[in-house]
Amino acid sequence: MTEINRPGSGHRPLAGLTVLVVEDEVLIAMDINETLEEAGAEVVYGRNLRQGMQRLEQELDVALLDVTLGRSETCLPIVEALRARGVPFVLHSGDLQRLGETISNIGAPVLEKPCDMGMIIEALQEAVGSAQPGAIRSRG
């Protein structure tokens, strides 16, 4: 990742949005979270399925979900909960070959790791934009 791909300091495309990030590699999470915060987002982070489920208690605008969590878990329970609440989400996976079917069954936008940070921001923006209008929370 080079600086060129990062949003400029003046440009805050995610301003006003609360983003749930569920990612079990803390180094990758560190990078993603800092980038999203620089883009103006408020980041809510969970490093495993349990924490991810706990974070659902907060009001969220969009989510970025790692598909495989730990050795044996996936983000599917979080996917169901977000669907029920009409919160759009983007999947982020380095395991597309093995998870092909699981991922296509979810039917959400997919980003393949390693992924350009600019693409993550764009995908989150698009997900928010294409979500039902009622699902987008207006913020004061």
Binding site: D24, E25, V26, L27, M30, Y45, R47, N48, G70, R71
Partner: protein
Amino acid sequence: MSDQAHRSTRDEHGKEFDRARNQAQRMPIHSESGVLFEQAMAQTRMAICLADPNLPDQPLVFVNRAFRDLTGYEEEEIIGRNCRFLQGPGTDPEQVRKLRQAIANEDVVVVELLNYRKDGSAFWNALHLGPIYNEDGSVRYLFGSQWDVTDVHAARADEKHARMMEREISHRMKNMFAVISSVVTMTGKLDDAEELAEKINARIRSLGRAHEAMLEVSFTEGPTDPHPLFRDLLLPYAPSGEAGLTLEGGAVPLDSNIVSVLALTLHELAINAVKHGAYSVPDGHVRLAWARETDAEGEERLRLDWRESGGPAPEGPPKRRGVGTTIIRRMLAMGDGEISHDWRPEGLRVEISFPTSL
């Protein structure tokens, strides 16, 4: 010999079978051993057969129950035929040649053959074949015992495949780290940031070393001995080598997340020791101890205790927190981990803990 086979219905093989029985009865074994032989053959789970080398095409003249169970054929379908009817398209001609050679030379031989049952299914047959002699020294029978080693073959194939995959993954990973390193170095040179590139590369190399050390155990589940990992990470920085490093602790769960965190954390501690601490002098020493513990919420944590000695007395907390320290602090914070520094006169002591579910 009066194996229960003798009670089965007679068909076209019947005559040959009778002849074989008559011959078998002329075997120079007295009646008591004959009964023992019969009972042993009926009970053993080893598939046994006798072939007569003195008849045209060396037909089978006796098989036991285990042989019939193994091959799926009835006795009358077996007796009188050469045992090659068990061979099929997958049978290795080289092994068959070896078998024929041994029979001709009156040798004892063991071959592994792919054989086929009556229903067409294949099995790996470990066949042991050897001559049984008459009193006059001529060959009376060929004695064959066979064992289904299909499972052994499958296990061997799996193991071979797993080893091949491990080598392939190891090779690709080393390559990948090397390529990343080159890209960083090249970019650093062209962008006039060689010093920065070298700092980045040192961290990448630590990650690479750590993951390489863990490749051998990556296919096993559960806690693993981290000694090789810690040695690979820290020995390059110890001025006196082995004498400068003490490692104490048992097995810990080493998923790739934990390996990455450990690699970067220990790299920063070692670099710092080289610059300001124990590893800045020839006789400096680091003792790294670790243990697993359970916190108040029932979550398992890994606790590391890093103690430097033999170096210059630390000056206390640095005025400005370095990049390395910042990285590991943030990384540990993300994973609900903790780090604390204690600048003791005898040397820096650092305590780190983080959940093993990281």
